[in-house]
């Protein structure tokens, strides 16, 4: 079965919701693990990589959390376009998309647990959740890890903890991260201050697709950098606390903009609506920035009876691979033709959107806010 038939369609995927999902798009906790007796994938010979692959794939596939119908495949069986789709869904890293025979992927129906076999480490396993749910994500992946430890022996040293190919992941092997939509802080020009403050706390701020990527569409990823010398719980709690503060700052920034410069805000949102509905060529960068303002408009109640899932769906469908998939030429679609096709898709989709109506505006942090993270 193709991974395309397995994946949750964009319309459904964007309807998933969780606490604080006005600002926190998703939460993720990833663990890195290696087999004790086999060299790490980056350095090992093909035979060793195959050994790890053969040993791990069936064990991961049979995890109770994977359910009876998990997707499980060797990376060489996936066409390039499908790998790119998985990257855009945040199910695999860009590094893993470049892997072939000897590397594998297993994830469950709900797309909430995903394991990469032979990425930089033998196992990179992650739990994904919509909204701010770091604790739940940690509990999920912790149980996956414990279940695996009953079947295979991981490289572990009393002093250094779990051993990883890169010393930056040593110890807990944990990477706790959340994807945040912060248009208020960007408009208020406070985002750099926030990034600096967060960096000082030992946390990294990155763009949409992780390491080395640009912050498109006002979306930022916050994650821990240090993995050794602190327990998993402490790391999760620390990031959770920081995220709650960023949420508050973002709400305050939106409030202040609305009070002091409502015309600037309405101008951005109105222009986004106008361009998306009328442009004939849009790059993915421009589309993401415009959709960011649309989402802000929905958050502020400017569009009558419109759920944010409609904007989130367009966000996903504007990504290069998702767009190519929808076109008859698929991966033969050139980038400039892609921009035309993107504009066409966005024109059609937004034609049913209500016009922004300033009389509907409601202050941020009001009744639309989800319940506090448990």
């Amino acid at each position: 079965m193709s991974v395309l038939d397995f994946l949750i369609p964009p319309s459904e995927a964007s309807r998933r919701n969780g606490p604080h999902d006005v600002i926190v798009l998703s939460s993720r906790v990833r663990l890195a693990r290696n087999l004790r007796t086999v060299p790490f994938p980056s350095h090992s010979k093909k035979a060793d990589r195959m050994k790890a692959f053969e040993a791990l794939m069936p064990v991961v596939r049979s995890l109770p959390l994977m359910g009876p119908d998990a997707f499980s495949e060797s990376m060489d069986k996936l066409p390039a376009l499908e790998k790119q789709i998985l990257v855009e869904r945040h199910l695999i890293s860009r590094e893993h998309a470049a892997k072939n025979a000897g590397s594998g992927l297993v994830f469950n129906r709900e797309e909430s647990v995903c394991v990469m076999v032979n990425e930089e480490d033998h196992l990179r396993m992650q739990a994904l959740r919509p909204g701010l749910q770091l604790r739940q994500a940690w509990m999920t992946i912790d149980s996956v890890d414990s279940a695996l430890q009953e079947r295979v022996e991981f490289a572990f040293a009393e002093r250094y903890g779990f051993l990883t190919a890169c010393p930056t992941n040593l110890g807990t092997g944990i990477r706790v991260s959340a994807m945040l939509h912060l248009p208020g802080l960007v408009l208020a020009e406070q985002i750099n201050q926030i990034i600096q403050a967060v960096n000082k706390l030992g946390l990294a701020v990155r763009g949409l697709y992780g390491e080395g990527t640009e912050a498109l569409g006002n979306i930022f990823q916050v994650s821990n950098q240090m993995t050794l010398g602190e327990s998993e719980n402490d790391i999760v709690e620390r990031i959770n606390k920081v995220l709650l503060q960023i949420i508050e700052h973002e709400q305050n920034a939106r409030h202040a903009q609305l009070e002091k410069k409502p015309a600037v805000l309405l101008n951005h949102i109105g222009r986004a609506y106008g361009i998306l509905g009328n442009a004939w060529s849009i790059s993915s960068k421009e589309a993401m920035n415009l959709l960011s303002f649309m989402r802000l408009g929905v958050d502020l109640g400017l569009f009558r009876d419109m759920p944010k899932s409609q904007v989130d769906e367009l966000f996903l469908r504007s990504q290069p691979a998702h767009l190519q998939l929808a076109h008859p030429l698929r991966d033969k679609l050139a980038s400039d033709e892609r921009d035309l096709f993107r504009a066409e898709m966005l024109r059609q989709s937004t034609s049913s959107f209500p016009r922004p109506d300033p009389s509907l505006i409601r202050p941020p942090g009001g009744p639309t806010e989800g319940p506090a993270a448990a």
Binding site: A157, G202, G229
Partner: protein, 164 residues
């Protein structure tokens, strides 16, 4: 100065190589330098990129401090470590452990693991930690000639060893 390979473009990459005690100078344009692989300095930049600024220098210091040249299990060398910032296998962490702490200090909160321990190891670790503590207390007691405490500690160690 023109590129010594294509002799068309201006040389922008200047490399001094020392191999077999012979000094060799290369002046090349960017394209030829890339083609002939004269871009080695990026190896250091890579470690910087991965581990934060200044890390490559630390890494270099660390790998110089490391006694062993290569890992006896996977054949990973100091040079591999320096170049990639990564290790080859679990055994590498023992082989290259000397000097590794200074690298770890620059990137982590502490150099000791405080997180999850595999369930299978938990019992073993707990008893070995207890044994270490009791043994140290026993030595202290003997030092101060507190033989009453020493006798009690000796029995406790015996009991702990029996359980393990």
């Amino acid at each position: 100065m023109l590129c010594q390979f294509c002799k068309v473009k201006e040389a922008t990459v200047h490399v001094t190589e020392i191999a077999d005690n012979k000094v060799k100078k290369v002046d090349a344009c960017a394209a030829c330098a890339k083609e002939k692989n004269y871009n080695d300095p990026t190896a250091f930049a890579l470690a910087d990129h991965l581990l934060g600024l200044g890390a490559s220098q630390k890494m270099e210091e660390a790998s110089e401090a490391v006694g062993a040249v290569s890992c006896d299990q996977c054949g990973y060398t100091q040079a591999d470590f320096k170049k990639s910032g990564r290790l080859g296998c679990a055994r590498c962490y023992e082989v290259f452990s000397e000097g590794l702490d200074s690298v770890l200090k620059t990137m982590h909160k502490d150099v000791r693991h405080r997180g999850k321990v595999p369930a299978a190891l938990q019992k073993v670790l707990k008893s070995s930690q207890l044994l270490n503590r009791l043994t140290k207390e026993l030595q202290d007691a003997i030092q101060r000639e507190d033989f009453e405490t020493a006798a009690r500690l000796r029995d406790e160690i015996k009991a702990a060893k029996a359980v393990a």
